[in-house]
Amino acid sequence: MYLALYLLALAALALYAPDAVWQPGTHEFFVILGVLGVWRYSWSTVHFVRSLIYRHHAFPVLRREADRTGEEALPSQVYILISSFRIRGETTVRAYQAAIAEAIRYGRPVTIVASLVELGDQRLIKHLFLQMAPPPQVRLMFVRRPAVGKRHSMACSLRAVSRCRPPADAAVMVLDGDTLLQPGCLSRSLPFLQLLPEVGGITTDEDCVVESGPLLRAWHRLRFAQRHLLMSSMALSRRLLVLTGRMSIFRGAVATDPSFINAVEADYIDHWRLGRVQLLTGEDKSTWFWLLNAGCRMLYLPDVQVTTIEHPPSQWLLTASTQLMLRWFGNMLRISFRAIALGPRRVGFFTWWCLIDQRLSMWTPLFGPLVALFFAFGKSAIFLYTYALWVGFTRLIQALSLLSVRPTISGLYPVLIYFGQVYGALVKTYILFRLDRQRWTRQNIAAQPQLSPAKARMRSLMSIYLHGLAFGVLAAAVALATNLLSMPRFDALAGLF
């Protein structure tokens, strides 16, 4: 219904557009947006095509091989690490029920490592485990730790796995406490570790159940659909841009490597201005970087899906998305510097360029709105109408492209795509200059640099200044492109004297 409404609104906007919208004066506007559009949309097309190739040609070959090997390729021991902290009881029950049920279904030794803080969770999970009465090969291991963050929790759990001396072919699945394993997830995912010895980590498609209103539900589902498309494209190069913390699988030897565990527990970046920044969040980026640095390949399984239960931190889209984007994009920006520094030879050219593009694409979505605003200010407000038409049409195409990864799309997608691009770019550029600000949304754990008040104020002012400078350069460039400002002529300046 939303889609029908969107199409009607767009058609009405086009049909009742003032004549001025179609006048030659707007050509200049479209040329400026078009140049940027050609770049951005052709890049999106590349991902779209690669995604199709991966899902319809490259991966099915792998799947057939995996199916052919059968149970022989399954690891002799699997560890499922589940981190839970302040997750609602009903979500915890569903997540553990799904994990235990999948472990039972798998039919081989599985140890579920429950990484917990609260005693209540421990009781609940133990009760659940006893109630489901799994066979002896399914074990439950509790790792209780203080509420100092997911990194510490994961590291403790990985060390607990390490002390179990897992066999060489073991696999370690890392799950969030709000992720539901779907039936067959283990048996359909794990054979690839033996089939592809160069692969160090695997992740899968995700979809979500959102306990909120339709807008936030659509926003979350849109993000997962976009993730599916992008991950499929990246997977063609056998390297991904993240091994998602909601569900990833690592080779046992990787997950129990002391340097891997240390990277999970105590990762940091040395920033020229902020000094050493301890990474509070983004353990999935740390594990991803570890694999990338070690030269391991990564695999994406488009035909295996896990479901996450989303509890947005607010019922309002703006509040919830701001908090989540600050965390996600902060993690991305903190780690990607290092990944880019590895160079295209180490990372692979396509992956490396995608990392570069992540840096560029945080500025490009701001270009369009600025062009429209500056044209409206300098020439005519009709350009805002023209821009609305342009956005409405292009985002509709982008939303329709998601039909290649999901059976249906929402009419809210075009609007949310635009929101995600522009507001996301604002959040990215904000956090780029404040990489030391990190916060876990649910746990309310934040990283606070140990600075004197004067130094903290100075650092904050410098962040504001650099952010303003960067945005000013962008705005000045757009103002130049739209002739709102003209390039100063030195001969003109000389004429003053």
Binding site: L119, R276, A492, G495, L496
Partner: protein
């Protein structure tokens, strides 16, 4: 031995207060029910006369489970003995590492209200489960470190660079705003000069004496008109001029008043004429500098305002009759270029920007 299905691994321990857990202690062959205990010691609601406060002795703790008891030997010291209230307390001495681990485990297991099985106990005894809790790499990694001076210099150098960049951007934006909103620019200016038009004084055939490019002085022969019945009139230059346009064709017949040539007075410099609305002219004054650009020429000329005419002849405006409304009548600004213009530039369109 078969592994237990539920294992407690690497617990992080809290400070426990005194616990009400039903364990027993055996001292000198007598078993007492322990009223409360902690990692530091235990208290018993009973009277014991065989030991005095401060005295050290060996004892044994008994942990009752569903189907078995577990005991643990330890050394203790009596801390107090309250005969009046029938209570005494003892402190543990030199608890071993394993004993401490077992204690902690039991405390947590009891607190959670869970039934502890024998397998759990054996499992926890069999490993070094406190080692990782002590592992604190973060302190080492994230303790403040002294920065080398070269890094400090480099950082401040980058700060300075960004400072300069900020100033440059500010200057650029301010200059751009001034250019766009506070600078008068026109693109309909043109080169103007005093022009003399030579017309036919009588009707007749023109015999021109004009040579292309030849400068004229006052009285120079321009040509002769031969009228009917042998009449002729000689045309002379009224000024020191150059021929701007030769209209009359040699040998052709012309009527009285027909234009024959246009001359430019070379005694007067060529000026740039700009027409501006009054609100713009109010910002200008004689002597202001202006930048002049001719289409197709990259080189810029500069000049200054020589005259501002606020009372132009109404019939001279835009070549139209003087029936324009007052609001559309334009003032005339005349700019004298620093370098004199060539006569052939007369009439050229120009863009003018007042500095």
């Amino acid at each position: 031995m078969m592994q237990p299905q539920i294992v407690h691994e690497a617990e992080v321990h809290r400070q426990h207060v005194r616990l009400k857990i039903p364990i027993q202690v055996e001292i000198d062959g007598v078993r007492y029910q322990v009223d409360d205990w902690s990692m530091g010691g235990f208290g018993v609601e009973s009277v014991m006369t065989s030991r005095q406060p401060g005295e050290k002795f060996s004892a044994r703790l008994f942990f009752p489970f569903e189907d078995f008891d577990m005991s643990m030997r330890f050394d203790a010291r009596m801390v107090y003995a309250d005969q009046e209230h029938g209570r005494f307390g003892c402190a543990f001495l030199s608890i071993s590492h394993d004993q401490a681990a077992l204690f902690r485990y039991l405390i947590d297991a009891y607190l959670s209200g869970e039934v502890v099985s024998a397998g759990d106990i054996l499992q926890v005894r069999g490993r070094e489960n406190t080692a990782m809790a002590r592992y604190q790499p973060l302190d080492e990694l994230f303790s403040p470190q002294e920065e080398p001076w070269s890094s400090t210099v480099k950082r401040y150098g980058v700060y300075a660079g960004f400072g300069v960049a900020g100033l440059a951007l500010l200057a650029f934006v301010l200059f751009g705003i001034k250019e766009r909103y506070f600078t008068i620019q026109v693109s309909n200016a043109y080169v103007d000069a005093p022009v003399v038009q030579i017309r036919a004084p009588i009707a007749g055939r023109l015999i021109s004496a004009l040579q292309p490019g030849e400068p004229l002085v006052v009285g120079s022969l321009l040509g002769t008109i031969y009228g009917a019945e042998g009449a002729s009139v000689t045309l002379e230059s009224p000024c020191n001029c150059e021929v701007l346009q030769r209209i009359g064709v040699n040998g052709q017949l012309y009527q009285t008043g027909d234009a024959l040539a246009m001359l430019v007075d070379t005694d007067q410099p060529l000026l740039i004429r700009v027409q501006l609305p009054l609100e713009d002219v109010e910002q200008l004054q004689i002597g202001d500098r202006a930048e002049i650009r001719f289409p197709g020429q990259s080189e810029l000329l500069y000049g200054q305002i020589e005259r501002i005419n606020l009372k132009p002849h109404l019939d001279a405006l835009d070549g139209e009759a003087g029936d324009l409304p007052i609001s559309r009548r334009l003032a005339q600004v005349l700019i004298r270029p620093d370098q004199p213009l060539e006569t052939q530039d007369y009439g050229s369109l120009a863009a003018v920007r007042f500095l």
